[in-house]
């Protein structure tokens, strides 16, 4: 008797489990903690679940510092996410480690992606297959303090590198002891300056920073790398426009109203939006004399975890389709302030004429995306490169050669 009741209970429980799993599938979405990003994703999930009542999406977040380790550890335990956000620069490692799977060609045809998205998405393409798609992208621009420009009697932001130097000199203010009160332009290699040097200045001096697949460092092949570094270090040593380490970080100096200009990314908008003491504007990065412009763009892509299969894989594909749609991109732009990754969603008249988003968007068609193998280590080579000139008086040419050698070793190590 008791046994029969027990059996009935077990089969009933089994039925319920089977019924729920048939009618609803739950997938996990992972990203790192950043208030607006989490908020935007909550909205997207809500919209998605409304349209797909049989799918539940669970958002799981971790602090940024732990994020990569968590994904890797979860994958080792075969408990990885179905859909995850990853920095484009991690793609090689994630593909090699079998953490993510290629997007199915029938839902995401490569040709269509290339037609509809900005060219920088190709950083997620390996052997003809795409491994992820971004919702939003980031680019760099010149932030300028309108109040300080007005005080100095300068009409608008510099459009060329020569103007940058000329205005910077006028805007920098030192006190009697010879210390900076205000810098014309912040110098912060640890911030975004290393990207500016790599993908913008080197190209403007007529060089190419890397070969096509970023497996070879080429900024030391001709004089362009050294010229670019010299231009950069001269801002401090020759022209006295700024000083590395001023106010600890470039963005802190700009926020405090002690820097007339700083080069930073879209992701800084959230923090600068709370500035109340002065008016600021955004401009495209200055062009060189011949009008050559360049920019560095980056993004977090969404990819499907390698463990997703069956109905979870189907649900994941649907979800990825939604979060890469025009609608999702517009929500992301409004909530997070990051630029849409699709041309149509981005290049609307309203967006292009926006005084803040406009300059960032204008840069996307000509922006480059460095394929880092280890961004922190490669950034360090650029920081050290500048420091050797600032602190040890090494010549820019020697310093660039040393940096190229170090960076090549990092790339070779990661690729072998």
């Amino acid at each position: 008797m008791q046994k029969r009741i027990l059996m009935a209970g077990i089969s009933a429980a089994a039925c319920i489990t089977a019924a729920t799993s048939a009618s609803a599938v739950e997938i996990e979405y992972w990203q790192y903690i950043y208030d607006t990003r989490v908020e935007a994703m909550d909205q997207l999930i809500e919209n998605f679940e409304e349209a797909n009542p049989d799918i539940t999406v669970k958002q799981v977040t971790f602090p940024y510092a732990d994020y990569q380790t968590r994904i890797v550890a979860a994958n080792m335990a075969r408990k990885g996410p179905d859909v995850m956000q990853l920095f484009y620069g991690w793609a090689d490692k994630f593909i090699e480690g079998n953490l993510i799977q290629p997007l199915p060609e029938d839902t995401f045809p490569a040709a269509q992606i290339e037609e509809e998205f900005f060219p920088i998405v190709s950083a997620m393409k390996r052997d003809g297959e795409y491994y992820g798609l971004p919702t939003a992208v980031r680019s760099l621009a010149l932030f300028w303090n309108k109040d300080l420009f007005e005080e100095a009697g300068i009409d608008g932001p510099p459009e060329t590198l020569d103007e940058l130097v000329e205005y910077g000199k006028e805007l920098a203010v030192k006190n009697d002891a010879g210390n900076f009160e205000t810098v014309g332009l912040t110098l912060d290699m640890a911030g975004q300056d290393h990207q500016w040097w790599r993908e913008v200045l080197v190209r403007q001096m007529g060089g190419v920073p890397y070969n096509d697949d970023y497996s070879q460092v080429t900024y030391d092949d001709d004089a362009a790398g050294a010229e670019a570094l010299e231009f950069y270090t001269n801002l401090q040593t020759e022209h006295g426009i700024g000083a590395a380490g001023f106010m600890d970080e470039g963005q802190a100096a700009f926020r405090a109203g002690r820097a007339a200009m700083t080069i930073d990314g879209t992701f800084r908008l959230g923090s600068f939006n709370s500035i109340e003491d002065f008016e600021w504007g955004v401009a495209e990065l200055p062009a060189n004399e011949e009008g050559v412009q360049s920019n560095y763009a980056s993004y977090f892509a969404n990819a499907i975890g390698s463990s997703a299969e069956g109905e979870e894989l189907e649900a994941s594909i649907k979800f990825l389709e939604y979060i890469s749609s025009d609608e999702a991109m517009q929500i992301w732009l409004e909530v997070v302030g990051e630029l849409p990754a699709r041309r149509d969603a981005a290049m609307t008249d309203a967006n292009m004429n926006d005084p803040i988003y406009g300059p960032f968007l204008a840069a996307l068609p000509y922006a480059h995306t460095t394929l880092f193998v280890d961004e922190a280590a490669q950034r360090q080579t650029a920081i050290d490169m500048a420091n050797r000139v600032f602190l040890q008086g090494q010549s820019p040419a020697d310093s660039v050669a040393e940096a190229a050698e170090q960076e090549q070793a990092i790339i070779d190590d990661a690729r072998d």
Binding site: T69, G178, N387, L391, D413
Partner: protein, 312 residues
Amino acid sequence: MVHPTESDTIPTHPVQPAPRLSMRTRSAIWVWSFLAIPVLFYCVIRFYPTFNAFWLSLTDWDLMSDAEFIGFENYRRMFADPGFWQTFRNTFAYLIYGTPISLLIAFVVAYYLDRVRFAHNFLRALYFMPYITTAAAMAWVWRWFYQPPPTGLINSALGELGFGQIEFLGSTTNALPAIMVTAIWAGLGFQIIIFMAGLRAIPDTYYEAARIDGLGEWTILRKITLPLLKPTTVFLVVFISIAFLRIFDQVYNMTTNDPGGPLGSTKPLVLMIYQTAFSSYDMGYAAAQTVVLFTILLVVSLLQLWILRDRA
């Protein structure tokens, strides 16, 4: 030893009673069942990973793919890397300058604080305070003290007085001492308390006898206080050395935007290991660096115990 047969002698008993164990066995079981948890903990959480690190150091494990045996390649790469030797020198700079300076200051403060009656407890608490403060929080406060003008407190004060500014964290020569000063200051409270406990433990009768014999303060210090303080000193030397060899919090937090200081001038081994493991995910290489640190810690500790051993 165990006599489990006692109960077997009463076979007719309806319910078998638990076998009677002797008092000694029972207490041994108790002791071991309590000890089992920490023993197990140490084996699984401490010793197993430690020994595993030796194996990992011979592989190219990167977290993602399976570990592959590559012999001593990681060590060869490490010894050929000038960056490694830089951190090696830095680590020893922290140790060789930091330990004696800490010890001397802690002793002098403890020696005189021991004699102060006025506000004794308050002063002691004041010295102890940095020790219980979070290292990261302290590091950030010092980081701002050290900034160039207009934000840095020290440089702003120098500027007010008409002196030129000093580069602290931004200089390849000043950055390491600047960080070391904060680490010494942070550890001082604990060392002072230990020294004071050691001083209190020396019986007054020795001092009284010495004074009756007419010995001067300096001789008393040299002949009585310091020799009797030796166990305390040995403990502190080992303790401080290990702390300096493992320095991380201060360096990491004071130089986050250029980790390890300008051109790696402040980077200690632990920070290098952290970067190799959790930024580059080069676990095999990081394990090799860990083995080197482990060896240094072991050798330095044994050497100190041997040098400062009780010859009596």
